[in-house]
């Protein structure tokens, strides 16, 4: 670094930016408003669940504590779900962290590259004895969620155009979801425990044989599950 004074002055500026002095208030507000605004745009259901004022305060606290590391604001907000687990004021809504994870996963799916269509013929072309060696990865923008709460129903009942019965039973209705950029757009789908475990195995890099080792059903239903995952572009 050949600019010692420039570096020193920028570091001093940044320290003052996050202190609460009046001099750099305009810059502090710009930074916090940009980050908080990004969180609000990605999490409309969480915002609706806790109210705009609560979410705004949450978002500004998150923005102060969690640095942004990408010049692209749409990359900001990963980890809000984890943050909410530790966020005392939201303790009364135990499902909120998972709703935030669902909204973040949808956001990633909306902005991910289109996954290339996986040719099932590739599978069919292999001798049956070798199919177990096949590996699949999750497609860009695919997230697997395992929630003890019905976060899919909470999400749906909190859409602006939802008019049906909005009651949600929080007990005994866990949501195992695949969130993905499907050909029809970014969306989520409920899957069985076996399907989720299969996809988790793929995500860990396991070949088909090992990822499906605990598959409880017939070979046909494993084939059907694979076909569904390929068709919906969950895997690539």
């Amino acid at each position: 670094m050949r600019c010692p004074l420039l570096a020193e002055l920028q570091r001093a500026f940044a320290r003052e930016l996050f202190a609460d002095g009046a001099r750099l208030r305009v810059h502090r507000e710009t930074t916090l408003a940009a980050l908080a605004g990004a969180l609000e745009a990605v999490h409309p259901v969480c915002l609706r669940l806790v109210g705009a004022d609560f979410f705004h305060a949450l978002a500004r606290r998150f923005a102060r504590e969690v640095p942004s590391v990408s010049p692209d604001l749409s990359d900001y907000g990963t980890g809000l779900g984890d943050y909410l687990e530790r966020f005392e004021p939201a303790r009364a809504l135990p499902y909120l962290p998972d709703v935030a994870r669902l909204e973040w996963a949808l956001h990633r799916a909306r902005h991910a590259a289109d996954g290339a269509a996986l040719a099932l013929s590739r599978v069919a072309a292999l001798p049956e004895a070798r199919r177990g060696e096949l590996s699949f990865g999750l497609a860009p923008g695919t997230t697997l969620l395992d929630s003890v709460y019905p976060i899919d129903r909470i999400w749906r009942t909190n859409q602006p155009d939802f008019t049906d019965d909005a009651s949600v039973c929080l007990d005994a209705d866990p949501a195992l979801l695949v969130v993905a950029r499907e050909p029809r757009g970014a969306c989520f789908t409920r899957v069985s425990r076996a399907e989720l475990d299969l996809l988790l195995g793929f995500a860990r890099g396991l070949p088909l044989e090992r990822a499906s080792a605990a598959w409880p059903d017939t070979a046909e239903s494993l084939g059907a599950a694979l076909a569904r995952a390929v068709e919906a572009r969950w895997i690539g």
Binding site: L6, P71, A113
Partner: protein, 290 residues
């Protein structure tokens, strides 16, 4: 300065008229009503995601009108290493959209890996001239294009500054061999907040480097003017714009609006007012180096 591919589009491809900064609020009106717009300025960081939901809109509009690409994320004045991955994304976007001009700001936006999403002021030091000019030159190489560097709005100054902002900007542009995007609203806001002469600023920049002008409105808050892009262009900024047009000749201009965004028709009316001033100006007295 050499870049690796010939530019397929250049500032000379833009009409010397007032284009609009493209915002999502106007996507539908622009695509469906097809109003006459001289060109559009695209905010680069909104469109660098691989699955950018607005890509279809951009491609539709790009097929009809020239575009420019405006970045806020290169941190040209920063001390962190230039973000090669971000520059590669900007390059890919530029190669797709073939903008007539790519620009970013005379500012820093990140420090020690932390992105601040603001255009932060530089101390105008002699040592910083070389530093910023080298970064601009490296950014130009990475993008394969000459870029324009824009003056930002100022709210705080460094007592350590050794040069006036316009001297610093002109010196960086000369050493990096880049262009200048002169935002007359930012000059007005900074002059009011920091106590310098807006007219001296406009009168001092090198004629051959100012490739484009920016126009916007601002709002007052306490003792400060805030560059909110949240109001119509006020008379004092129109006067400064007119002064710039007289001095630099007819150059492409962009009207920016980010808050209290009016219907497209109202913005186009405001842009036509700028067009009228540009139409009265002499043509480029000095051609902008390509």
């Amino acid at each position: 300065m050499a870049w690796s591919t010939p530019r397929r589009s250049s500032p000379g491809d833009l009409p010397a008229r007032c284009g609009l900064a493209l915002r999502p609020a106007h996507y539908t009106a622009l695509v469906e009503e097809r109003p006459e717009v001289p060109f559009l300025e695209i905010l680069a960081e909104n469109h660098v995601q691989p699955g950018d939901p607005a890509r279809g809109v951009l491609e539709t509009l790009r097929a009809r009108v020239p575009v420019t690409l405006h970045s806020v994320g290169m941190s040209l004045g920063g001390i962190d290493p230039l973000d090669a991955s971000h520059l590669a994304k900007l390059r890919a976007l530029a190669d797709d959209l073939e903008p007539a001009l790519v620009s970013d700001h005379l500012a820093w936006a990140s420090l020690d890996g932390r992105q601040l999403h603001d255009l932060l002021p530089l101390p105008y030091l002699e040592e910083a001239v070389t530093h910023v000019a080298e970064r601009v030159a490296r950014a130009q190489d990475a993008l394969g294009r000459r870029i324009a560097v824009e003056n930002v709005s100022g709210y705080a100054r460094f007592a350590e500054s050794e040069l006036a902002e316009w001297e610093f900007l002109a010196e960086v542009a000369a050493r990096a061999d880049c262009l200048i995007l002169l935002d007359v609203n930012n000059v007005f806001v900074s002059a009011a907040n920091l106590g310098f002469s807006a007219e001296a600023y406009v009168d001092s920049l090198p004629l051959e480097r100012v490739a484009q002008l920016h126009l916007a409105g601002h709002e007052a808050s306490g003792d400060l003017l805030l560059d909110t892009h949240g109001a119509a262009v006020p008379p004092a900024v129109w006067s400064l714009f007119e002064r710039a047009v007289v001095r630099f000749g007819a150059r492409p201009a962009v009207l920016e609006r980010d808050r209290a965004i009016p219907p497209l028709g109202a913005l186009l009316d405001e842009a036509r007012k700028a067009d009228a001033l540009l139409a009265r100006a002499r043509p480029h007295a000095v051609s902008v180096a390509g």
